[in-house]
C-alpha cells in the first residue's frame, strides 16, 4: 500500500484551511478553519501510523482528537462572551 499521496493531499487541504484561518473576516471563520485543520490532522496521523507500520503511534491521533475538542470549546466560549 502506498499511503503517501493521500497524506500529501491531506496536507494540501490543511494548507487551504490555513488560508481560511489567515483570511477569515470574522473570528468564527477562523475557528472553523482551525477545526478543519484538527480533523484533517487526526486523519493524517492515523494514516501515517499505518504508513510507518507502527500501531502504537495511533495513540497520538486519539489524544489529538479528544483534545482539539477542548481547544475548540475554549475559543468558542471566549467569543461567546459568556462567563467562565
Amino acid at each position: 500500500m502506498n499511503w503517501t499521496p493521500a497524506v500529501i493531499v491531506l496536507a494540501a487541504c490543511i494548507a487551504i484551511a490555513l488560508i481560511r484561518v489567515g483570511r477569515g473576516p470574522t473570528t468564527p471563520d477562523r475557528i472553523v478553519g482551525l477545526d478543519t485543520v484538527n480533523t484533517l490532522v487526526v486523519t493524517a496521523l492515523v494514516i501515517l501510523g499505518a504508513a510507518f507500520r507502527q500501531p502504537v503511534y495511533v495513540d497520538v491521533a486519539i489524544v489529538y482528537a479528544l483534545l482539539s475538542f477542548v481547544t475548540t470549546l475554549f475559543i468558542a466560549r471566549l467569543i461567546e462572551k459568556g462567563k467562565f
Binding site: F52, Q54, P55, V56, Y57
Partner: protein, 117 residues
C-alpha cells in the same frame, strides 16, 4: 535529495526563530510577547527533535520491531522536559499579565510599566 529534505526542518527552525524575535522585539502587547516566547520554545523543540532524527529510524520504543535503526532518544527526552517547563512558564507569565491588567488596566508594555530609571 534526502539531505535537502532533512534540512527543511532546520530552515523552519531558523524562520521560526526570526519570527519569534520579531514578535518579542516589536510587539508591545504583553500577551503577544508571550506568544512570541511560545513560538521560540516551539522552534527550540523542533531543533532538538530534528537533531535526533536519523533517516529510516523508528521511535525509540521497544515494540515488535527489533534490531532496526532508531532515532536518538535523548533529544526527545530533552524536548519533553522543555515542553513541560514551557507550559509552566507560559502559565506564570499569563497569570502575572492578568494581575498587571487588574492593577493598571493595561496590557500594553509601555503603558503598564511603573518602574524605570
Amino acid at each position: 535529495m534526502s539531505q535537502l529534505v532533512l534540512n527543511a526542518p532546520f530552515v523552519a527552525v531558523a524562520a521560526l526563530t526570526c519570527v519569534a524575535c520579531y514578535i518579542i522585539m516589536t510587539q508591545k502587547n504583553l500577551i503577544k510577547i508571550v506568544m512570541g516566547v511560545v513560538i521560540l520554545q516551539g522552534a527550540v523543540n523542533l531543533f532538538l527533535v530534528t537533531l535526533g532524527y536519523r533517516i529510516g529510524g523508528v521511535a525509540p520504543i521497544y515494540t515488535e520491531t527489533s534490531g532496526t535503526l532508531m532515532v536518538l532518544p535523548v533529544p526527545q527526552a530533552l524536548t519533553l522536559t522543555n515542553i513541560v517547563i514551557g507550559v509552566s512558564t507560559t502559565a506564570l507569565m499569563l497569570a502575572l499579565i492578568v494581575l498587571i491588567y487588574r492593577h493598571t488596566g493595561e496590557t500594553d508594555a509601555e503603558k503598564s510599566r511603573r518602574m524605570k530609571g
